[in-house]
């Protein structure tokens, strides 16, 4: 088991997958409001659509640690509570808190394990779970006398040698539940060598009826349907319609039911010069929607692979009263609109359409009309309009599919950014990801001078909004009043001839201004009481709350005031003398129902913070001391929500001159400081301010850039996230009628007012549209530009398209080119469209140049290479394939194009191309030359005048080279199927010698060298692994000399002489497309960042000490039993899906600790001999040290 590894990694998800495999609609909250539940990867997410804002909010997200295969919502008869059944490969179960769990398979996603299809009777009486072949299980759902949900043992409806293409439940009102399946029996074709039986195979629509009385499932009806059919849709039954199903195949939609005639309608095609008139469309997704009120009012929206939505309605015969009888008369089809190709469509009652795109951003549309009254031709419509019937509303960002990802710091900020290429077709994008919170700027205005500080204050205690903005300059103070406009006021009683140290609304209706020479107490009737600082001394630091004031004098004394019963400030008789100069002070808020805050925090320049008591019995007595690494620059005592205690806890936030921020827990009784957490903010001294964001108290920490400390709305864990905003010198809370929860800040000579709208999302995305599906990208070695290769299969290239459009024989008047973002590109089998784009993600934020490839070539790989023969000039090298066929792999030729950079990389110029036998799938710069993987061969090329010159070649892998990495003269070659092989290059002999390979077949998708001996990589089945070369083999390979000993070494089991050792293995489910060793936060540790196809971003953090490993291993073990995954999948089995998990601790599971109920937390803490707080600190530390 895992314990034997010498290397341990901690796996964390930075961003969960954004691909939606399925989305369903239901009223899960028990109210009328409809919610959307989506399944993405192993995560189940509940979204709440907000129709008023046209937004989708995430209400809850849960990692089930299993592969969610299908989900369905159902409602039990007689109950008005919506419930959800989640089906993973093992279980069927209910809701986010588990109501029921049934196991129906234990060996993962396999051919005969049910779970591929799930259908629930519309009345919620039964569900059918089917596998791709043979097995079908029917569960009867019921309620027992306690109104709890019960689930029967399964009834079998197996049929051997039968494949299922689609499955739906029939709407039969309250008669016995019926399920319809689209099946093919291959039994005969397997026995017939002539192939005739295969030719004659029929696809049948089969009805399975569950007889509730007999508790038995029968195959009730079977009838052949269109051979190409792949998808079924339920037609409403009972009062609402004729019941039955729509069977959708290539080019047709057919209505079928056991007691009705079949009705068939063709799917309209697009017309145009670039359209192949013979190309048949098929339906790939759809939704049925019942309209409220009228019986029989329902329609379907069915989508073709082009993204076109068609509205299908069924016309029924009417009786004398004009009510529908349930007898179908005809089927109508009509073009409705074009939206991205979806995996699920949901129509909300509030008139919205949620499109869960299979690739790219998910969209949220609002229906304008249902297309009943437009000019669209019904039935055999082949005209094609461009005007959309629905206005567009904001989309939900999705990084799916993520094709490649790189971390780079192009903006010279403290932390690097993540750059990625995502999406398919015309909707593909180049995305920049930055850690930070979105800031909404409200006002930015220039001031006459450079202010040093700013405050806002209200006039009386009961005011809701602030009335004044007070600005302090070096020797003046300016007061602005907030109203319709912001203007200067002079008669406020504030001293304007000196700078200000603090401003506070005191007591009922007083105001306080602390300036270096004293304290001004301004009463409501403009009377001013002034307390002057003792002679030859001035005030250096001040802190206030609505009843107390404390100031520190230049002599190191602290003077304390408290408001007395008649609203005047009373000085406490004694002054407290501190040892050093006081740099900062802080008083907490007065707790509700109390007259004072009990603690005063004092920061001195001897790098200490002291807590003084303000209790009347022990005023200004020392309570506790904390030593720091540098002098404190700011202090703030505040109560914040806390996940460990469940309620709110008093914290002391400390900012240091070194730019470090500390947060410690302040004991409310003893004043003890404990549980210190540190974080480096930036090189400037940290300043701290109490602000209010989204109804919670948060801390605004300013250093070289602004940060916000808040508790996460979902997990309640403390988060510290930078704001996407320029660096501020000062900040304060701001509240006015226009902006109730804002902040005001000073940046240079500017006054800025801003607010933060969203705390849930701490990764900011920016995207640049691309032309075709991006395949790979590289960065210019010196300049901040990226180069992508994009290619699209089965799409006409621009040249072919232009030729077709020019052909006068084809053009027939309406040759309008449809925008490809909505409608996709014109398609043509066997055609490729491909291009190289230059992207500037920093200044222009757009594609600078696009180079199209012609002759049906498509780019497959790229690299920037500096050629030693050209005085180390850097060239862009792109590998292409001509007439490629994806499966089985074929092509007529491959080429390597060479491009020269111009204008610092803003432009590229084609130099020449070299023909090779196969498309080169991997290219890499290597010792001033080009390393290329062509088929099984590894080659070294040098740059010539007319073409590339081959210098060396060896066959190194059994199938196909797909990736190359290098360090020194060692090359890591990944094979499409056979894991990685390490090759050494002997310069003198000009020989490439493979010396170590792997024992297991790994369908490598990406690799990176972690160190000289170790390779980290991912494979197409969704595994992550680390392999290490044995020390002896590594040393032998690098021995001086000819390498003859390597060449003549005996092969081991027909492979290389040595084998790689597996160091770590983990199953994260998503397919890793890119992996690299990087550092994500300023001053953070190196970690491995991997990016998954479905948009997952995850990291592997190496453990430094054995002690931490033991701790997290035990914690993980406890979490497995205490917080068993929701879907019932055993966590250890899930993470060991293909290969037993080794050397990796699942951080996502460990982080669920903070979400456990307090008693369970304490139990686990007891087992681990630590406090709850300590465990939570360890969990949050390991994340913040290397990621967000």
């Amino acid at each position: 088991m895992a314990t034997t590894s010498t290397m341990f990694m901690y796996s964390l998800t930075v961003q969960p997958p954004t691909a939606i495999t399925q989305a369903i609609l239901g009223q899960f909250a028990g109210t009328k409001e409809q919610q959307i539940v989506t399944a993405s990867g192993s995560r189940l997410t509940l979204h709440r659509p907000d129709p008023s804002q046209g937004k989708i909010l995430t209400a809850l997200s849960h990692d089930v640690f299993g592969i969610i295969r299908a989900i369905a919502a159902f409602r039990l008869a007689g109950s008005n509570k919506g419930r959800i059944t989640i089906v993973e490969f093992l279980p069927a179960q209910n809701r986010f808190s588990r109501l029921h769990l049934e196991t129906f398979g234990k060996s993962g996603v396999r051919r005969v394990i049910p779970g591929q299809y799930l259908a629930v009777d519309p009345k919620g009486r039964a569900c059918l779970i089917a596998s791709a072949e043979k097995n079908k299980l029917v569960y009867v759902l019921n309620r027992n006398s306690q109104a709890e949900l019960t689930i029967s043992s399964p009834l079998e409806a197996h049929k051997a040698q039968t494949l299922v293409f689609a499955l739906v439940a029939l709407d039969v009102a309250f008669s016995n539940p019926v399920f319809a399946a689209l099946e093919v029996d291959y039994g005969e074709s397997d026995q017939d060598p002539t192939g005739q039986a295969y030719e004659e195979i029929e696809k049948t629509l089969v009805y399975y009826e569950l007889d509730l009385g007999l508790n038995h499932v029968v195959r009730k009806w079977a009838d052949p349907v269109d051979r190409t059919a792949t998808i079924l849709f339920q037609v409403p039954g009972g009062q609402d319609g004729p019941s039955g199903v729509l069977v959708c195949g290539e080019d047709n939609i057919t209505y079928r039911h056991s007691n009705q005639e079949a009705f068939r309608v063709a799917i309209p095609r697009r017309r145009g010069a670039t359209e192949d008139p013979q190309r048949k469309r098929s339906i790939v997704a759809g939704v049925m929607h019942k309209l409220k009120g009228a019986a029989g009012a329902f329609f379907f929206l069915l989508q073709t692979e082009d993204g076109d939505l068609f509205k299908v309605t069924i016309e029924m015969a009417e009786d004398e009263d004009g009510a529908p009888t349930g007898e179908v008369q005809r089927l109508k089809i009509k073009y409705f609109d074009t939206v991205p190709v979806s995996s699920s469509l949901c129509i909300l009652k509030s008139g919205f359409l949620f499109v869960a795109s299979e690739f790219g951003n998910h969209q949220f549309y609002q229906f304008e009309k249902l297309g009943d009254d437009d000019e669209e031709i019904e039935f055999t419509s082949d005209d094609f309009p461009v005007d959309a019937t629905e206005p567009y509303t904001p989309s939900v960002d999705s990084m799916n599919p993520l094709m490649d990802c790189k971390v780079a710091n192009l903006t010279d900020e403290d932390a690097p950014q993540i750059y990625s290429i995502c999406g398919t077709g015309a909707r593909s994008t180049f995305r920049t990801l930055k850690h930070g919170l979105e800031v909404n700027e409200i006002v930015e205005s220039e001031l006459p001078g450079v202010p040093s500080a700013v405050w806002t204050t209200k006039l009386t205690r009961d005011d809701t909004f602030d009335a004044y903005i007070i600005l302090s300059f070096t020797n003046a103070t300016l007061v602005l009043s907030i109203g319709e406009t912001v203007e200067e006021v002079t008669d406020t009683g504030f001293l304007s001839s000196a700078s200000t140290l603090a401003v506070q609304q005191l007591g009922e209706d007083g105001l306080i201004q602390v300036h270096p020479k004293g304290i001004r107490h301004i009463r409501a009737d403009r009377r001013v009481n002034e307390w002057a600082a003792p002679q030859h001394r001035s005030i250096v630091a001040a802190t206030t709350n609505e009843r107390q004031v404390a100031v520190a004098l230049s002599s190191g004394e602290i003077v304390y005031f408290e408001m007395d019963s008649d609203g005047a400030l009373a000085e406490y008789d004694e002054k407290k003398e501190m040892t050093g100069t006081v740099t900062c002070l802080s008083l907490g808020e007065v707790p509700e129902g109390r007259v004072r805050s009990n603690f005063l925090a004092v920061g001195c320049d001897d790098s200490t913070v002291r807590i003084l008591s303000l209790d009347p019995d022990s005023t200004l007595e020392n309570k506790s001391v904390q030593a720091l690494t540098s002098a404190p620059s700011a202090l703030s005592i505040m109560a914040m929500a806390d996940s460990s205690s469940g309620g709110s806890t008093l914290y002391l936030h400390i900012g240091l001159y070194s730019g470090v921020y500390l947060r410690t827990v302040l004991d409310e009784v003893t004043g003890e400081l404990s549980d210190t957490r540190t974080r480096f903010l930036g090189p400037k001294p940290a300043k701290l301010f109490r602000v209010s964001v989204q109804g919670q108290t948060a801390v605004l920490a300013l250093s070289s850039r602004p940060w916000l400390g808040y508790s996460d709305p979902v997990t309640k864990a403390f988060m510290l996230t930078p704001l996407n905003y320029p660096g501020l010198e000062w900040g304060w809370n701001f509240s006015s009628e226009q902006c109730t929860e804002g902040m005001v800040g000073i940046q240079g000579q500017n006054l800025r007012i801003f607010s933060i709208e969203k705390l849930t999302d701490n990764l900011l995305q920016e995207s640049i549209p691309l032309t075709y599906t991006p395949r790979q990208f590289v960065r210019h070695p010196d300049h901040p530009y990226f180069y992508t290769i994009e290619s699209e299969n089965n799409v006409l290239s621009p040249a072919t398209k232009a030729k077709l459009l020019e052909d006068p024989a084809i053009v027939n008047g309406d040759a309008a080119v449809l925008p490809p973002e909505e409608f996709g590109y014109p398609r043509g089998r066997g055609h490729w469209a491909s291009c190289i784009s230059i992207i500037d993600p920093i200044t222009e934020k757009s594609v600078l140049q696009k180079v199209d490839l012609d002759d049906n070539e498509a780019a497959v790989s790229m690299a920037t290479v500096s050629f030693a023969s050209q005085e180390d000039e850097v060239f862009l090298v792109v590998g292409t394939g001509k007439d490629m066929i994806v499966s089985p792999r074929a092509s007529t030729a491959g080429f390597i194009h060479v491009y020269r950079f111009h204008e610092d990389g803003k432009e590229i110029e084609f130099i020449h191309k070299t023909k090779v036998e196969e498309p080169p799938m991997a290219l890499l710069g290597f010792q001033g030359r080009l390393l290329a993987g062509v088929g099984k061969d590894l080659r070294i090329y040098d740059l010539g005048m007319r073409q590339l010159l081959r210098k060396s070649q060896t066959e190194v892998v059994p199938n196909l080279i797909v990736g190359l990495q290098t360090q020194g003269s060692r090359i890591v070659v990944s094979d499409v199927q056979e894991s990685v092989t390490m090759v050494v290059y002997k310069f003198q002999e000009n020989k490439l010698i493979p010396f170590v390979d792997d024992t297991i077949a790994r369908w490598t998708s990406c690799t990176t060298m972690v160190d000289y001996e170790t390779v980290a990589g991912g494979d197409k089945f969704g595994n992550l692994w680390l392999l290490r070369c044995p020390t002896k083999a590594s040393e032998e390979a690098d021995e001086e000399g000819s390498g003859a000993h390597l060449l003549h070494e005996r092969q081991y089991l027909q492979g290389a002489p040595h084998r790689l050792a597996l160091m770590a293995h983990f199953y994260p489910q998503d397919i890793p497309m890119s992996i690299q060793k990087t550092n994500l936060v300023a001053g953070g540790r190196d970690c491995l960042l991997w990016a998954g196809l479905q948009g997952t971003l995850g990291i592997l953090v190496p453990f430094v000490g054995r002690e931490d490993v033991d701790f997290f291993q035990t914690l993980e073990q406890h979490m497995r039993s205490e917080d068993a995954p929701l879907a019932g999948r055993d966590h250890l089995i899930y993470r060991s899906y293909y290969v037993p998990v080794k050397g990796v601790i699942d951080g996502d599971l460990c982080e669920r600790y903070t979400l456990l109920p307090t008693d369970k937390k304490q139990m686990i803490a007891g087992e681990l001999d630590r406090s709850v707080r300590e465990i939570e600190r360890k969990i949050s530390d390991i994340r913040t040290r290397s990621a967000y």
Binding site: T21, R111, D190, S343, P401, N793, I1071, L1093, Q1094
Partner: protein, 84 residues
């Protein structure tokens, strides 16, 4: 003899229950068909894998899914002639 019979019966039971259980006379065709069908079912059953293939082929997922199940009908071509 009885033992042999029982073993035979048990094997037959297993074969009926678990698709793909082999026997002494499993032909190359049966074995490879079975492996291929398992593979296709796995491609269809794992959402990321299906997406990966759909992107590679330049098709949409639903079409690829349909095509994969279609291929499960006769994954390795016609069965060989039976020679007696």
């Amino acid at each position: 003899m009885a033992d042999k019979l029982r073993a035979q019966q048990q094997l037959e039971q297993l074969q009926a229950r678990y698709v793909g259980t082999g026997h002494a006379d499993t032909t190359k065709f049966e074995w490879s068909s079975n492996i291929q069908r398992d593979s296709y079912a796995s491609y269809v059953g794992h959402p990321p894998l299906l997406s990966y293939m759909a992107i590679g082929m330049g098709e949409c997922r639903e079409k690829v899914r349909g095509a994969m199940i279609e291929k499960m009908i006769q994954p390795v071509g016609k069965p060989p002639e039976v020679q007696d």
